[in-house]
Amino acid sequence: MIIASAGIRSMIGKRKFLGLLLLAWLPFLIEAIRFYFAANYPQAAMILGATRESYREFFNYQAFFVFLITIWVGSGLIANDKRANALQIYLSKPLTRAEYVAGKLSILIVFLLLVTWLPAMLLLVLHMLFQGNLDFIRANLLLFPAITLYSFLQVLLAAFTMLALSSLSNSSRFVAILYTGAIFFTDAVYGVLYAVTGNTSFSWISLSGNLRQVGNIIFRMKPVYPDTPWLLSLAVVVGMIVVSTVILDRRVRGVEVVS
C-alpha cells in the first residue's frame, strides 16, 4: 500500500503526466458528445448511434494512451530502484518481495484503469443517462462484464510485461525501448508475414494482435484474425503474464549475484 500510494502521489505531482492523463480522456469526451447527439437528434442516430462495437472501438482508441502511460509510469518502476540501489533497502525492510512487486504493479494498474475501465464505464452510464431509458443496457447487458474483463486483461498484460522488463535493467530508457519493441516490432513482423502470405494465421506473433483478438471475442464480435484460434491468442496473453511473473520472481531480489 505504501509503495503504491507513494508512487501514485509522485506521479500525480507531475504536471506533464497529468496533462497526458487529461489527453487520454479526449476520446471519452468525443464519444460522450457523439452519444449525446445520437440520443437527442434522431437524424444523427443513424450515423452516430452507439452500438456494442462502439465500446470495443473505444478501447482501440485508448490503446496508444495505454502504451504511453505504461512507458511513462512503468519503465522506471523497478529500473530506477535498481539504479539507485534502493531495491536492497526496500527488501531489507519488513516487506516481502511479493508486497514490493504488488505495490509497483498497483501504481501502473491504477493509472491504466483510469484511462480504460473508468472512462468506458462512465461512457456506458452517460449513454444510459442521455437516452433516458435502459433499453440499450438491457439489450447489451454483457457490456458491463465485457468492459471489465477486457480492461483488466489489457491492463494486466501491459503492467506485468512492463514490470518484468523494468526488472531486467537499471536503465528506464532501455526498458521503454524493449517494451516498444515488444509491442510494435511483433506487430511489424506479423505485418510482413501477413502482407506476404495474405494469411492471418501468424497473428499470435503480435502481442497487441493477440489482445485485439481476445477483445473481439469478449465483446462477442467476429475475430480480428479468422485464421488464428482465439484460444491460442488467449494462451499467448496469459502466457506472457505468467512469463513476466517468473521473471519478476527471479529478478526482484535483495542481493544481486554478479558472476
Binding site: 506533464k16 496508444f64 502504451f67 504511453l68 512507458i71 511513462w72 535493467s169 536503465s171 530508457r173 532501455f174 521503454a176 525501448i177 524493449l178 516498444t180 519493441g181 510494435f184 516490432f185 511489424a188 513482423v189 505485418g191 510482413v192 508475414l193 501477413y194 502482407a195 506476404v196 502470405t197 495474405g198 494469411n199
Partner: protein, 292 residues
C-alpha cells in the same frame, strides 16, 4: 593546530607544458567520436539493435531454407516470392519500425544518457566546444547504426533473392535505393531526435509519440499535414510496392502522394541540417543541472 602555508611562493615550481587552447570543432568532434563509438558499439543497446535486425534476417533465412527444400513456399494457395518478402521487410520492418526506433532510442539519449549518468561534466570541462560533444556522439550513432542495419539489409536481400545474376543485376539498383533511403532515415531521424533529446524533457516519450503516433496519423490524413513528417519523404523513395497489411496501410496507400526524388532528398537534407543545427545551438546555451 599548526597550518603550513602552501601558497605558490612556498616551494618548487615544476615546468608545465603550455596548455592548448580550445580544440577546433572538427578535432573535438573526432575525439568525442573516438570516445563514443566504442561505448555505443559494445553496449546493451547494441544487443537490442542486433535482436531487432536479426528478426528480418531470421525470416529471410527461414524463407531460404523452405525455398531450398520445397521451392517457393505456398500459403493458402499463394506463392511467397523472395522479392515480395524483401519488399515487405523493407517497408514494414526496416522503414516503419527499425529506422525510427533506432533514431528515437539513440538520438534522444545522445546527451540525455550522459546527463542521467552524470558523466556529462567530464565532457563539458574539456577544452572542446560543447557542440562537438553532441556532433561527435551523433556521428558515432550514425556509424554504429549504419554499420549494423545496412549489412543486415544486404543479408536479407541475398537470402531472399534467387541466386540468378540476371535477377540480381535487375534488382540491385532497387537495393542501392533501399540502402540509401534507410541510411538517410537513420541520419535524419537521428538529427531530429538529437534535438528532442537536448532540448526537451521526457525526450523518449516525445520521440515515441512523434514516430509512432504523429507520423502514423499525419500520413493517414489527406492534405499538408504529412509534410511535417520524415516518413512522408522516406516513403516516397521506396522502390517497392506499398504493403496492404492493415486498414491503415490501405488508407495510406489510397491517399498517398509521391513527391519527386529530388524534392524528397532536398527536404530530408533540410530537416537534417535544421535539427542538427538546433541541437548544436541548444547544447551550447543550455544548462544541464544534474540531479543530486
Amino acid at each position: 593546530m599548526a597550518h603550513e602555508n602552501t601558497g605558490v611562493s612556498g616551494g618548487q615550481q615544476t615546468e608545465r607544458a603550455q596548455p592548448q587552447g580550445a580544440a577546433s570543432l572538427s578535432t573535438g568532434v573526432m575525439r568525442v567520436f573516438d570516445l563514443s563509438l566504442g561505448q555505443m558499439l559494445w553496449s546493451r543497446r547494441t544487443v537490442f539493435m542486433a535482436l531487432v535486425v536479426a528478426a528480418p534476417m531470421a525470416l529471410a533465412l527461414l524463407y531460404r531454407i523452405l525455398h531450398a527444400s520445397f521451392g517457393d513456399p505456398e500459403v493458402n494457395g499463394q506463392a511467397v516470392r523472395g522479392t515480395t518478402l524483401f519488399g515487405m521487410t523493407i517497408w514494414l520492418l526496416y522503414l516503419r519500425f527499425i529506422v525510427p526506433i533506432l533514431g528515437v532510442f539513440y538520438g534522444t539519449s545522445l546527451i540525455a544518457d550522459e546527463v542521467d549518468d552524470k558523466t556529462i561534466t567530464y565532457l563539458f570541462v574539456r577544452p572542446i566546444p560543447r557542440r562537438s560533444v553532441l556532433l561527435g556522439k551523433y556521428l558515432a550513432y550514425v556509424v554504429s547504426t549504419v554499420c549494423v542495419v545496412l549489412p543486415s539489409v544486404m543479408v536479407v536481400y541475398f537470402l531472399t533473392t534467387p541466386f540468378d545474376l540476371r535477377i540480381i543485376a535487375q534488382s540491385f539498383p532497387a537495393l542501392a535505393k533501399d540502402l540509401g533511403l534507410l541510411g538517410a532515415g537513420l541520419v535524419v531521424y537521428g538529427a531530429v531526435f538529437a534535438f528532442v533529446g537536448t532540448r526537451l524533457g521526457h525526450p523518449l516519450v516525445l520521440g515515441l509519440v512523434f514516430a509512432f503516433g504523429w507520423e502514423q496519423f499525419a500520413l493517414f490524413v489527406p492534405g499538408y499535414l504529412r509534410r511535417f513528417t520524415v516518413m512522408y519523404y522516406l516513403q516516397a523513395l521506396v522502390p517497392h510496392a506499398m504493403p496492404q497489411d492493415s486498414a491503415m496501410s490501405v488508407l495510406q496507400s489510397v491517399f498517398r502522394e509521391v513527391p519527386s526524388a529530388l524534392q524528397c532528398i532536398g527536404w530530408l537534407a533540410a530537416i537534417w541540417a535544421v535539427f542538427l543545427i538546433l541541437a548544436a545551438v541548444t547544447i551550447e546555451r543550455r544548462e544541464y543541472v544534474l540531479e543530486q
